[in-house]
C-alpha cells in the first residue's frame, strides 16, 4: 500500500530528496519555458546595465556619448570598456554566488538553483555551471543548452549536469498565503480543504482573469454556502461576491 505521507513518484517534474526525518523533500523542477524566461530577463538587465555603465563613463571621459571614434586610452579601456564587459559576462556567476542560486531574472520568474542534495549550490559548482556556458551557448543563441533542457528528463543544460545543480520553482506565494489562514481557521466553520481552497482563490484574486474569478467565486459560493442558492448571484457585483467569500472564510456562514 502506498505511503500517503510520502510524495507520489509518478510526476516527472518532481524531484525527491531523501531526508533524515524519513519525510522526503519534494521540489518542482522548472522547465524550458521558465528557464528561458528568467534568462531573457537577466539578459536584458545585464545588457542594459553594461550599456549604461559604458555610455556614462564614456561621456565622463570623452565629454560625449559615442560608440565610435573613441581613443583606446588606458582610462577609456579600464574605466569604461572593461567594467562594461565584466558586467555583461560576469553577471551570472557573481550574482548566482552572491544571491545563493538566484539572480534578479530567476527571482522574477519564480525559480532558483539548488544542489542535488537540496541545499544552496557551492561557489565552485556555480562557477563551473557558468564555465559550461561556453558549450551551452554553442553554436549560437544557446542552442546546445536549449536542446539539453528539452531532451533531458530534469530539464538540465550541460552546465547543470556538470555542476550538479537543478533549477526549481520557488513556492513563496503559497507561504505568504499562510498569514491569513491561521486567523480564518480559528473562526471558520469550513473544513481544512475548503479553507485552503478559498484562501488560495482570495490570495490570487488580483491575478485571475476578471470573468473567470467571478465564475469561480460563484461556483465556490454555491458549493460551500447553503444560503447562496437563495441569492441573485448573477446580479451581484464582483466586490460583493468577493466580500461574501471573505465572510464565508472568516465565519463559515455568509451573512444574508
Amino acid at each position: 500500500m502506498a505511503d500517503a505521507t510520502q510524495p507520489q513518484p509518478a510526476d516527472p517534474d518532481r524531484y525527491v530528496i531523501s531526508s533524515a526525518t524519513g519525510v522526503d523533500v519534494v521540489v518542482t523542477l522548472a522547465g524550458t519555458g521558465s528557464r528561458s524566461y528568467a534568462f531573457v530577463i537577466d539578459w536584458h538587465i545585464r545588457l542594459l546595465t553594461a550599456l549604461a555603465w559604458f555610455l556614462c563613463t564614456a561621456l565622463l571621459i570623452n565629454g560625449r556619448i559615442a560608440l565610435r571614434g573613441l581613443a583606446p586610452s588606458k582610462t577609456y579601456v579600464f574605466v569604461a570598456l572593461l567594467p562594461a564587459i565584466a558586467i555583461y559576462f560576469l553577471y551570472h556567476p557573481i550574482l548566482e554566488i552572491a544571491m545563493r542560486g538566484r539572480t534578479p531574472g530567476k527571482r522574477m520568474a519564480g525559480v532558483r538553483l539548488i544542489a542535488r542534495g537540496g541545499g544552496a549550490p557551492s561557489a565552485g559548482a556555480l562557477l563551473m555551471r557558468n564555465v559550461f556556458r561556453l558549450v551551452d551557448s554553442m553554436p549560437a543563441f544557446y542552442v546546445v543548452g536549449l536542446i539539453g533542457t528539452l531532451i533531458s528528463s530534469q530539464h538540465l543544460r550541460i552546465g547543470d549536469l556538470a555542476a550538479g545543480t537543478l533549477l526549481i520553482f520557488d513556492q513563496d506565494r503559497n507561504v505568504k498565503s499562510l498569514t491569513q489562514l491561521g486567523a480564518f481557521a480559528a473562526h471558520s466553520k469550513l473544513d481544512a480543504a475548503a479553507l485552503d481552497l478559498l484562501n488560495d482563490v482570495l490570495a490570487r484574486w488580483n491575478e485571475l482573469d476578471a470573468s473567470n474569478r467571478r465564475d469561480l467565486a460563484t461556483t465556490l459560493l454555491l458549493r460551500l454556502d447553503a444560503q447562496a442558492k437563495e441569492l441573485p448571484l448573477a446580479t451581484l457585483t464582483e466586490e460583493a461576491v468577493k466580500s461574501r467569500l471573505l465572510a464565508l472564510l472568516s465565519s463559515g456562514a455568509a451573512k444574508p
Partner: protein, 327 residues
Amino acid sequence: MSSDSSRAWLATRAPIWRALADTGERLRLRRRASVDEALRTLDNYRGLARDLATARQQLPGSGITAALESIYAAFHALINRPPRNTRAAIAVMFRSEIPAIVRSLRQPLLWVSLLFTLSVAAGWLLIRTYPKLIGLFASEKMIEQVQSGHLWTEDILNITPSSILSVRIFSNNIVVSALAFCAGIFYGLGTFYLIALNGLLLGSAFAFTRQYGLDGELLNFILAHGLVELSIICLAGAAGTALGESLIRPSGASRRESFQQCTARSGKLLVLCALLLVGCGLIEGFISPDPGFPFISRLIIGVCYWFVMWAALTGRLYGQAPRIAAT
C-alpha cells in the same frame, strides 16, 4: 482527522509555519548561527516533517501542502548546509587537492602533450611542403607583414598599451583553456580538436616565418610566456580528456554522476590554470613585445616561470603538503 480537529490544527499551526518561513529566510542569509539557534532549527525541522506528513495525507495537492513543502525544503537546506571555511578550503585546494589532481592526470597529460607535439610537427611539415596553405592559418595582413620582413608582433606596443594587451591576452587564453576543458563533454573529441588546432597553428607559424628568416624572432617573442602558456593549454586539454573518459568509462553509479564528479575535481585545476595564465598575459603584454629584453632574459623568465608553474602544480610552492589520493 475530523473537520473540527483539522481546523484546530490549521489554526494553531499556520501562524507557526509563517513564522518559521521568516526564520528560515533569516537564517539562510546569515553566515553563522548559535548552538541554540541550530538546535531550535533541528526541532523545527522535525516539527515541520510531522506537519508535512499530515498535510500530504489529509490535504494532498493543496496550497497548504505546497507551502509546507517549500518551508520544509528551506529547513532541509539549512540543516544540510556545509560548514564554511573559505580560507582553509582554498589552502587545501592549492596545497593538496590540485597536486593530487595533477598526479591523476599524468597519463592524459602525456597523450595530450604528444598530440600537441605531433600537431606542431604536422603544421610545420604542411606549410613547408605547401607554403600556400598558410592562408588557412594566418590572416592576409599577417602574411603580408611577414613577406615584407616584419613579424606581426613587432609594432604591437605602438598600437596597444601593454596593460590593455595583457588583459586582452589573458582573458582570451583563459577562455581557450576553459573551452579545451569543456569541449571534453563531446567524449574528448572537442578537446583533441582544439589541442590539435593550436599545435597546427604553432607549427605552421614557425614554418612560415622560417621561409623569411623570422623564425628566430618568433621564438624570441614566444619564449618568455609560451612555455607556461602551452603547458597550461595541454593541462586543460588533459582535464578535458579526463572529462571525456568519465563519460566513456563512468566510474560513478551513472554517467551523470561520473561526469559531475570529474568536473568538480578537474574544475579546481582550472582555477590555478587561470591564475597562471594571468601571469602569462602580463609577460606577453609587458615583456614579450619589448625589444629591450635580450634572448637570454626571456629564456630565464620563461624557464623560471615554468618552474613556478611546476611548483604550484605539485604543491611545492606552498611548502610540503600531505599527499592525498585522487578520487
